[in-house]
Symmetry: C2
Subunit: 236 residues, 2 copies
């Protein structure tokens, strides 16, 4: 424990321009959509999501042991058929498949709800989703960290669709009222400023008309880092 004079004080918070981040934005066009895949990974993950939704706060009136053994067999078969993580990581970056694998948007990612965003005429992204028990923090509320994750994704994609994106340098989230689980919420985000390789973006989450949370992030084009990673992934 620090003494009081070393302690953090509440600093200035971001001034969020809520006008364009309203919940009721209309006229958007779908972005980042994934077609059904021939390989069938999306269809497989859809079934895993149904299982995922029932294990958190599980109240299951059945013997789980035989079901566990059947899942073990499926996992064994998939492991035997799978490439290793290095090869798979290269795949996620080699063919524009990033979105498929995103932890919030990705139809191939078991972690993802997945959320779908539309892009409004002013560049604001807007997505509706309803999150289940597996995203719970406080009772009946979306976990504060999941709120932050939603923001990092919507701000990043809002930047991407302007043509100038980057890695997160900071992300400041303000929790203004509880974000509910098991009810529709609206996630919005937009880029608000560009200065060389730096871009700023802001976002909001609403439940109906109620403002639940806001966020501001600073993102910087990583330059060397991405070049370095891509060379490494390609074995260069």
């Amino acid at each position: 424990m620090t003494t009081p004079d070393q302690a953090p004080a509440r600093r200035d918070r971001p001034r969020i321009d809520l006008g364009p981040l309203r919940a009721s934005g209309a006229g958007g066009l779908p972005i980042d959509r994934m077609d059904d895949d021939e390989a069938g990974v999306f269809a497989l993950v859809d079934q895993v999501r149904r299982i995922r939704a029932l294990t958190t706060g599980a109240v299951l009136d059945t013997d789980l042991e035989p079901l566990t053994e059947r899942l073990r067999d499926i996992a064994d078969e998939l492991e035997a058929a799978s490439a290793g993580p290095e090869r798979r990581q290269a795949v996620t970056w080699s063919t524009g498949d990033y979105i498929d694998n995103c932890p919030i948007l990705g139809r191939a990612n078991v972690l993802a709800p997945p959320v779908e965003f539309d892009r409004l005429p002013d560049g604001t992204l807007r997505g509706e989703t309803t999150l289940g028990l597996e995203y719970q923090g406080p009772p009946a509320c979306v976990h504060g960290g999941v709120v932050a994750l939603l923001f990092d994704v919507v701000l990043g994609r809002a930047n991407f669709h302007t043509g100038q994106t980057g890695m997160t340098v900071y992300l400041d989230v303000d929790y203004r009222s509880p974000t509910p689980i098991l009810e529709p919420i609206v996630v919005t985000g937009r880029q608000v400023r560009v200065d060389g390789r730096k871009v700023w973006a802001q976002g909001a989450i609403h439940a109906g008309d109620r403002l639940c949370a806001t966020a501001e992030g600073l993102f910087v084009m990583p330059g060397d880092l991405l070049v370095e990673n891509r060379r490494r992934l390609s074995g260069g």
Copy 2:
């Protein structure tokens, strides 16, 4: 896009006391551990996690359709045996089962890695984990939003174990260098100040000795909100 004079400026960042948040802390005792469960949900989720780990960036040399059908059968059986989400939500809060279901710590939650924390003699929490492709943001890096989620959890639990916790009011995360996937990382967090119902906590993530990210959060005991939610859940 706002004009420059309306634009956000880079505000002061939290002053993080990194001394107690070093990666190499020793002498900790395990906290928040979950015993193997009789009902077998943890064992079932372990198998779902094996499947989860292979669908992101999937390179699977097998016909997925029959595997998808077998997963569908399991999901059908679990759905038929499951209580509804309201009943299950009440369960997550009725018997101290919160940790089992946390999206980072919870052995019953398919989203969770899960991470395990030790508590050091000075109250700092310290956990090591290695995150797979499903947690990826930029190439070879943990997603910035997942970094924020790790922080919200470690700060919240650090508060809990001092005896004074609360809901997140703000969470400010600074990304200082890439947080790697597929390599061990160390997550630390501790409470740094209490002022009535307000508590502040700070955290860090390291990869080896390299500092990847820091965070500060303000948390407030919600009082009425929790009372309200508990009454609603109990049907009162």
